[in-house]
């Protein structure tokens, strides 16, 4: 299999402080890869560096043969990377429809954009009921659905998801994970950052464990889920 995304020796700094040190990641086409780790381990930073939101100090990020270093976030998005950021970051003062339309910003054909919005609404029927509402008035679960739906409009080949279950009721989390499984089944490669490591490993093929800005472990999801050290640290002892 060929790597869809390859991260080599990635270093990122935040105002002089080392946030990521020598990160190596590989994501193959069709995989679901989980990034696990404690708060501050560098999971969100990794996703933001891949999307171009943070400057890369050294190292390479290669997506489908293109080097992403020094490309702007909008150019990276147009290459086919979708990013559902931490905290959802929907446009709260705009309507649900406008949020979805903005998801299709790079699509030239209005008709094509409308078709894709319909597809997204088929995945999230709740959003159809709220289509003319201001996005800020949606519940947390609906906002997360909108954030994912907005990213799907561009039909990304690679979808980066940052804590999609954060702050949501268990039933809603279950729905979201079912949707992710469905999106993956349609051919989208996924990188998933999750606090809910159990759910993430149940969905993922492989996982990386980050600690203090470095990769501490990488293995198949099944192996990580059974590893006593991982279980103790991220899955909670039972």
């Amino acid at each position: 299999m060929s790597a869809l995304l390859e991260v080599r020796a990635l270093d990122v700094r935040y105002g002089g402080i080392v946030a990521l040190r020598g990160i190596d990641l590989r994501v193959d086409e069709g995989e679901i890869v989980a990034l696990l780790g404690a708060n501050g381990a560098g999971k969100t930073t990794t996703l933001r560096a891949i999307s171009g939101l943070l400057p890369i100090r050294s190292g390479e990020v290669v997506f489908d043969g293109s080097n992403l270093r020094k490309r702007s976030p909008d150019a990276i998005a147009r290459l086919g990377i979708g990013h559902v950021p931490e905290g959802r970051r929907i446009f709260t003062r705009m309507t649900v429809r406008e949020n979805l339309e903005l998801g299709g910003f790079a699509i030239a054909s209005q008709r094509e954009a409308a078709t894709r919005i319909d597809d997204a609404l088929a995945i999230f029927p709740r959003l159809r009921e709220r289509i003319e509402q201001r996005a800020g008035t949606l519940s947390g679960g609906e906002q997360q659905m909108l954030a994912i739906g907005r990213a799907l409009i561009a039909r990304p080949r690679l979808l980066l998801l940052d804590e999609p279950s954060l702050g949501l009721a268990p039933l809603v989390v279950k729905q979201i994970f079912e949707v992710l499984r469905d999106i993956h089944a349609r051919g989208t490669t996924i990188v998933l950052v999750e606090q809910n490591a159990r759910a993430a490993l149940a969905l993922a093929d492989r996982g990386y464990v980050l600690r203090n800005g470095e990769i501490a472990r990488d293995d198949t999801a099944a192996a990580l889920a059974e590893d006593p050290a991982v279980v103790a640290a991220y899955l909670g002892g039972e």
């Binding site: 171009g52 939101l53 909008d74 998005a77 929907i90 446009f91 003062r93 903005l102 910003f105 990213a151």
Partner: protein, 303 residues
């Protein structure tokens, strides 16, 4: 009653000009959280460009019959283009490189750009007011007890049409939506494929175009252009934008008309030398008691 209506008409006319300028402050603030202090001078520049075109055409004897309409249109379009390009040029040269600097840096830069433009315009046009060609015929019309000039009607109509066009542009067009998205959340906008730098440049272009319309109608309305016009008009328009809620488009229009009325009625009732006091007292009162303005969001949007 007669005088009251005349002042009302004056206030609407002044207000239309302030509203157009205030929109420029509010658009730029909405997207960059920057008070573009040079904006008033972009308005002055537009006025002088329109004046130059009209003077040139009049000297060439082209302002007769259909040529008059064409000449007025040419002056208006030239003012729009000149102010739009100037404003976008300021952003490109002065503000863009400060995008990641502390907020005070672009603010001080804006004040510097303002001084520079004022001095350049003074070098170009001199320090005395220059009479604006009196090209729009101005017979007085009697509507009931209200007496208005045709010029006043043209000025207000032009401003209102411009504002309606802006409203539809911002609400409906793809670029308008991109502007609103960048204003709300720059990172999220870039993640959906919006080129943030280009969108900010377009915002300056549009804000400048509005200042160009204001420059033309201001010249017609005041009958002159002066290198420091933009300083006073800019401060009043800025007050209007704050009164309406800075960053809020409808607020800038409302604030513009209210400040125009306030200036007109305070001049009538307590004297012209006090109208500045009245206008800037409003600025202070708004900043103290309702900093988010009349139509501004009072609820925090960011968690």
């Amino acid at each position: 009653m007669h005088e009251f209506l005349a002042q009302l008409a004056n206030g609407v006319e002044l207000g239309a000009i302030y509203a157009l300028i205030a929109l420029g402050y509010t658009l730029v603030y909405g997207i960059l959280e920057l008070i573009n202090f040079a904006h008033g001078d972009v308005y002055t520049f537009g006025s002088f460009v329109a004046l130059g075109i009209l003077v040139g055409l009049r000297a060439a004897g082209a302002l007769h019959g259909a040529g008059l309409i064409l000449g007025i249109a040419a002056a208006l379009i030239a003012a729009i283009l000149a102010s739009a390009l100037l404003n976008a040029g300021i952003e490109r040269l002065a503000y863009r490189r400060l995008r990641k600097a502390p907020r005070l840096a672009p603010l001080i830069t804006a004040i510097g750009v303002s001084f520079m433009l004022e001095n350049l315009i003074e070098l170009w046009q001199g320090s005395a007011p220059v009479p604006f060609p009196n090209v729009i015929p101005n017979p007085q019309l009697q509507i009931g007890a209200l007496e208005v000039g045709v010029q006043q009607i043209v000025v207000v109509a032009l401003a209102i049409v411009t504002m309606i066009a802006l409203h539809f542009f911002v609400q409906r067009s793809k670029l308008g939506k991109a502007m609103r998205a960048v204003a709300q959340d720059r990172d999220a906008a870039s993640l959906v494929g919006i080129n943030v730098d280009r969108t900010i440049a377009m915002t300056f272009l549009i804000a400048g175009a509005l200042a160009g319309v204001a420059g033309f109608v201001g010249g017609v309305s005041f009958g002159s252009a002066w290198f420091l016009n933009g300083f006073g008009a800019g401060l009043r328009a800025f007050t209007a934008a704050v009164l309406g809620g800075i960053g809020n488009i409808a607020g800038a229009m409302l604030g513009g008309f209210l400040i125009g009325m306030l200036e007109s009625f305070s001049t009538w009732l307590i004297g012209g030398q006090w109208s500045n006091v009245a206008v800037f007292s409003v600025l202070i009162l708004v900043l103290v008691f309702r900093p988010s303005g009349l139509l501004g969001e009072t609820l925090p949007e960011k968690v």
